[in-house]
Symmetry: C2
Subunit: 262 residues, 2 copies
């Protein structure tokens, strides 16, 4: 079996979606700053594989990465409305700590959970709501400069730039995934924007599985399902990571019901 | 006369180059975290116009911006090799504090001193030293993603993204100047890279004068003289700011002597 994968923020929404989908496909080391209840652990994860630590704790992070081949770094303040001091510490300083620890521990690759909020100010009054619809051709592809809609988004853009630095300076493989709107079962209800950037649970798990398995240098990709209406390109994720999403918000009505009545 | 201009980091190298060039062209409020000796003050600046404060002190920054029309924000740890904790606090947190204070105080525009280090990892082994020479056509123009060569450069890129956010969210006019290699008198000696990104003292002062006077939304420009050999475009600075540089490192020999013997 390959080296274990360290998952930071394992108890959070994205972490749980990943573990539900690919929890049995890898050997895991799970990290969260709160203890993880047993219902949040995939089968086969022993107590020794669970670490309670803060990602700003450099020594703890190096220890947690001992023998690890890849890191999926999700931990941080996930609130779009989070105040500056929290994202400065938890998201910016925390992510720097994770990248630096990965280099020190000899980890090969890090997948960093960035966010649609790093670019949400491209959604100007002039472009919306048209850009949320399938007949609009506005697309972001990851080569554009960040344009955050909030300080949380600023912190995610800073994490991307840290990843660029640690790739260029230290040779770390880094992929930044600008995660869309993650929901289980069906797309967000009555929310065109969220439907255009829907990421289903199974596509999320598959995408991070590709981040663990694929070979890459430094990448910024969008993490959304293959929605018919979208303004984020998934071409780079397909090309570099082999991402092959199965879901599409257009298979559901605006209020989230499957169109085939299933 | 127009509203006063707040200059943070007034005692530093860039601040002094600005004040020597345009010290009598504006009404100034000068801020530094160390007291400024009288030889560092332009004529006509009274003691009341000098503020000793740290840019991470939000209340002090709002006070310092009372009645100010424009801010030139230079303060921060200027060392390319500065450790993470210092750039996190002084450069990233400090710049956020400055932008937030500018919004609170009703300031119209902020010119932010970014750096060539925000993009210095574009200078790969494959491209150098050819890209430092006039027969190479590699150009950066400010639309490219950051690619820092050090954590100082990461902090400057984060400052640029903060500026983007405060422009989009709050309507602040923001120009980020990726400053090249500032020297007085002559270009850096026997240093092709520094000559390609030379910024003379008089061009520096003129450029920031244009940042005070011009109208703009959000811009990233390169701050270098009109060097014959360059890999940073100055077209955007000319177009948006009316930048009209007078110096060119090609008028000097490689070891910094004027070619006309003057």
């Amino acid at each position: 079996m390959d080296d274990p994968v360290l998952l930071t923020g394992a108890g959070g929404r994205v972490g749980q979606a990943i573990l539900h989908g690919i929890g049995e496909a890898h050997e895991w080391r799970l990290l969260d700053r709160e203890p993880l209840s047993s219902d949040r652990l995939p089968p086969g994860v022993a107590d020794d594989d669970v670490v309670v630590a803060d990602v700003t704790d450099a020594d703890a992070m190096v220890d947690a990465m001992d023998g690890v081949g890849a890191v999926i770094h999700l931990a941080g303040d996930p609130r779009p409305e989070a105040p500056w001091n929290s994202v400065l510490e938890n998201n910016i300083d925390g992510t720097q700590t994770v990248f630096a620890a990965a280099v020190e521990a000899g980890v090969e690759k890090v997948a960093f959970a960035s966010s649609n909020h790093a670019v949400s100010a491209y959604e100007t009054d002039e472009r919306t709501p048209e850009m949320y619809r399938s007949d609009d051709d506005f697309r972001l592809d990851g080569s554009e400069l960040p344009r955050p809609g909030n300080l949380y988004g600023v912190s995610k853009a800073a994490g991307e730039t840290l990843g660029r630095y640690y790739h260029d300076a230290e040779g770390l493989s880094v992929v930044c995934v600008r995660i869309g709107n993650l929901t289980g079962g069906h797309p967000p209800r009555n929310y065109e924007r969220g439907q255009a950037m829907w990421l289903s649970h199974r596509d999320c798990a598959h995408l991070f599985d590709r981040c663990i398995r694929a070979e890459y240098d430094y990448e910024i990709v969008y993490g959304i399902s293959d929605n018919e209406r979208k303004y984020y390109s998934i071409e780079r994720a397909k090309e570099v990571l082999g991402y092959d999403p199965k879901d599409d918000s257009a298979e559901y009505t605006l209020d989230g019901e499957p169109k085939d009545g299933a």
